[in-house]
Symmetry: none
Subunit: 128 residues, 4 copies
């Protein structure tokens, strides 16, 4: 697993950890039944505080993506793949929702919003 944490991009570190694990599961990089790295080991390799990893892991448990096997570690649940795929879309949807709110406050019409979007889809196609 190749995780990259950027502590100053606005997205909380624990959220980045959460997403990258969920993403790896959605992509098949991690599979149901496998264990995810221990809190301590991941904290060490990412050079962040174990509590921060633990918080991400707790959230993964709350979302039933992972389940604790006492004294052993955290195991990826059977339904994790579906949940993580859904999660991805939810995140994008949420981000869009925020932009639309901002655009509405800028008094842009729905039509204008769509035009800007299509523009940017083209602009970012090769630029990325």
């Amino acid at each position: 697993m190749f995780f990259k944490i950027n502590p100053h991009n606005g997205v909380p570190v624990y959220e980045q950890v959460y997403r990258q694990i969920a993403f790896a599961i959605a992509d098949g990089g991690l599979r149901p039944g496998e264990m995810i790295p221990s809190v301590r080991s991941l904290a060490k390799t990412l050079a962040i505080n174990p509590n921060t990893v633990a918080r991400a892991y707790r959230q993964l448990q709350d979302d039933s993506i992972v389940e604790a096997v006492r004294g052993t570690g955290l195991e990826i649940s059977e339904k994790a793949v579906g949940l993580c795929r859904a999660e991805r879309i939810k995140i994008v949807r949420q981000a869009f929702s925020e932009v639309i709110v901002a655009a509405r406050q800028s008094r842009l019409t729905d039509r204008e919003i769509k035009e800007i979007l299509e523009d940017e889809i083209l602009n970012t196609r090769k630029g990325k």
Copy 2:
């Protein structure tokens, strides 16, 4: 000016004030040479903290959209219209750009992105 402040939508209140003034200027609702409401009066009509209004105003000054007229108040600058129009587009465009990049990282196709957007345009229309 018909401002609507929503303290529950995640966007900082001062930012909402800033945007709505800036975009009223871009739209011609407010014109160069006019004064904007005093901190206290706007705070009162919006039922928010004066500090919050003051912060928005400070930012408008920093961006040269309004100028202090000693002993009188804040006046909309001559170049404000241009600045605000540019700003409006820049903000929304950049926000979209970021979401699209995120969506692409989630391997959504352009078609899927547009679908989510249209969905959210409907979802957020009257909600909240």
Copy 3:
């Protein structure tokens, strides 16, 4: 609000805080639209660490029982009453579920389980 925290009864402190607030809401002791005590003030009156209170509050937010008003505090949501009533039942249900698991491991039949329960319902009626 009269909260009592018992740090050594097995139930995590943050969970006790969560439940007692949820309970107060379910009972009408706290009403939608009201603010709950600040993290720091509650931590002080309960003589526990603010982070522990914050954790309980975060969970209340995750469960949509409370929502953040930036820079102001946490407000009880409109749907909180329903959620908290449901929560209460969920907790009891969960507790029963655990006992039943234990009873099954003890090779008790469903019939025996029910008998013990009815017994205890009578036993605890006045004893409490």
Copy 4:
């Protein structure tokens, strides 16, 4: 002995081992004077950590249910049957008692408590 260990149900594994041995004794499946399996062999057949079995056995000794026979293994004591029968009822009864108290604090009626119980008996029958 047909033991079933479920590492996902929240009950500590050593506790599951303890209970199932104790209740096999209460049921007559195991009789005083017989030996219980060695730590290693039971650990192997249950596919769990020997330390975990050892812990359960230590607890059985502490409770005088089994006794060490030097160089041979652990033998079920004469008084084990009585102890285990008493234990079985005590554990379940007390657990129920606690839940009922909690349920009463949530102002559930006796009728509602019974309904939840019956619900959960069905829910947990084959699940998990």
